[in-house]
Amino acid sequence: SQKIEQNSEALNIQEGKTATLTCNYTNYSPAYLQWYRQDPGRGPVFLLLIRENEKEKRKERLKVTFDTTLKQSLFHITASQPADSATYLCAPRGNNRLAFGKGNQVVVIP
């Protein structure tokens, strides 16, 4: 069955450091993969999309990589700030729909 794995443990990181999150998927061949941010009690907010033929995508302090051989995407937040504290969701597109991982919480410590 299709599975999306994100680290269930919260990532605590010092302000100014780079946070790196991992998303692994199995039994998918997504044409693209998206990353969303979700704050408690709120709906997810779209951050970045990366296509299967792209290795890397950047947006301001965010960077996403996509390795279709490893079936893995990495999400980086550089120069992290306390305002970056949230849950980050990985969402590969498969079967003509988005499927979400359970998310990875990031806590940036001032």
Binding site: A31, G43, R51, L89, A91, N96, R97
Partner: protein, 115 residues
């Protein structure tokens, strides 16, 4: 421009009852998707509608149904509520889901509690 709106914000129902949740998409968006998010989990896909037609359905029982209206707003209905239906129900709107890529814009969600 207004974002995706959902109503009600919170809802408390009793087991066995029925509930209707409403969603208005961003102006210009013709696709609406519904998701269920249980605490600690990612959103799980329930339905997608585009131009008033069902385009996709997730692995949910027939107690769940939805429809999309000519103005592209949508309703999600859940019958015979179970305790396990307690969750945050999210609505997301987007352009044509058949495009090569599409971002989904989520509403704030409806928090449903079944007692």
């Amino acid at each position: 421009d207004a974002g995706v709106t959902q109503s009600p914000t919170h809802l408390i129902k009793t087991r066995g009852q029925q509930v209707t949740l409403r969603c208005s998409p961003i102006s210009g968006h013709k696709s609406v998707s519904w998701y269920q998010q249980v605490l600690g989990q990612g959103p799980q896909f329930i339905f997608q509608y585009y131009e008033k037609e069902e385009r996709g359905r997730g692995n949910f029982p027939d107690r769940f149904s939805a429809r999309q209206f000519p103005n592209y707003s949508s309703e999600l209905n859940v019958n015979a509520l179970l305790l396990g239906d307690s969750a945050l129900y999210l609505c997301a709107s987007s352009h044509d889901p058949g495009r090569s890529s599409y971002e989904q814009y989520f509403g704030p969600g409806t928090r449903l509690t079944v007692t």
